[in-house]
Symmetry: C2
Subunit: 212 residues, 2 copies
């Protein structure tokens, strides 16, 4: 019996979000009570309980300010949880190092915390066009350690990074990276390849699509 979010619950969600944006950590019950313009923190308790039940937020028991917005919460607010942008990876022959820029110290204002598990890369090159990944596309990468044959992976080959399809077979060459473009050759595993993450989504002109 999943309920739609009510107006009041949405308000509280917004209060939590805004507080977080402003301070860098979640609000207390008292602060939420204040913002909601109610007299008793029992109201906050009730509303939070609903938000938890319906999957909008997560609470850590017995902890001050133990609130986390879940993806559903962002969605209900109409805000998008977003991935950090990390740089540019080559999707063609592995020619271009992953450039995590070092010039951010000069960024103005307070800056966001972020998760390391997921990030966005821009692809250059045409080696994956048959998988629907074209030059200039953005891809969303989830870092993980274990992969299955057929996954499109973000890999480091020697000193360079690239995006290719990971293949594992029971015949030679057993393990290799496969470009999705007949122009290019498979890359065989020696000890020079490290898989960094799995490509889970691709963006073309701002539209994000699942990877097949």
């Amino acid at each position: 019996m999943k309920k739609d979010i009510t107006e009041r619950q949405k308000q509280l969600l917004g209060i939590i979000y805004d507080y977080f944006q402003g301070s860098g950590y979640p609000p207390t019950f008292e602060e939420m009570r204040e913002e909601l313009k109610v007299a008793s923190n029992q109201s906050v308790v009730d509303l939070l309980k609903k938000l938890v039940e319906n999957g909008y937020i997560k609470r850590s028991e017995a902890a001050a300010r133990g609130l986390t917005l879940l993806p559903l919460g962002y969605e209900a607010l109409g805000r998008q949880p977003m991935a950090p942008f990390m740089g540019v990876a080559a999707g063609g022959p592995p020619i271009q190092a992953l450039a995590i820029t070092g010039e951010w110290q000069t960024l103005p204002g307070g800056l966001a915390k972020l998760k390391d598990e997921v990030f966005v890369l821009r692809i250059s090159g045409d080696s994956m066009i048959n998988a629907g990944i074209d030059d200039g596309d953005q891809v969303l990468v989830q870092t993980q350690k274990y992969f299955v044959s057929g996954d499109i992976v973000f890999a480091q080959v020697d000193d360079e990074t690239t995006v290719k399809r990971f293949m594992s077979t029971d015949q030679p060459p057993y393990l290799f990276l496969k470009p999705e473009n007949p122009k290019y050759q498979n890359i065989l595993f020696k000890d020079n390849i490290e898989l960094k993450g799995k490509v889970i989504s691709v963006s073309k002109s701002g539209q994000w699509l699942p990877i097949k």
Copy 2:
């Protein structure tokens, strides 16, 4: 008398960062004490005081978990505070709407909070090539309300977004947006233009450069 960060202070900084990544909010003194493997939380007090003095973190007095990592803190850890990636903007004729994607619900894992004040866009089009902004470049945009003549701005024109140089003169046409490419015409202000932010940096293949 600015001191370099000590090894122990850096450890604590890392503990705070990691805890934040894991839970979405800062740790308590007790939790930090635990991680530092010390018996008294006075040690935490001392170390935090040093971190505040030297500008690595900010504390909110009289508040549980009132910790915020400052840019200097990220720098000391060797992590880069990064800007959220928002989508694609046209740098040519204003043909392409800013696409803030709506497909993130499926993102795995907990997601980062972020500041709204700064974000990254990808440029498509050639209307700003004389300002050093080319098709496919990324630009870093800081949202702000007030602009001076000559600023390169991220603007909404009718229902579309674009990046152009903002010009303000004491002669007609007074206010207009100027493409940095003779192929294109100035865009005059009617009531259809809203300036969203200022472009403060441009990235070419991962190298971030200041905007002139």
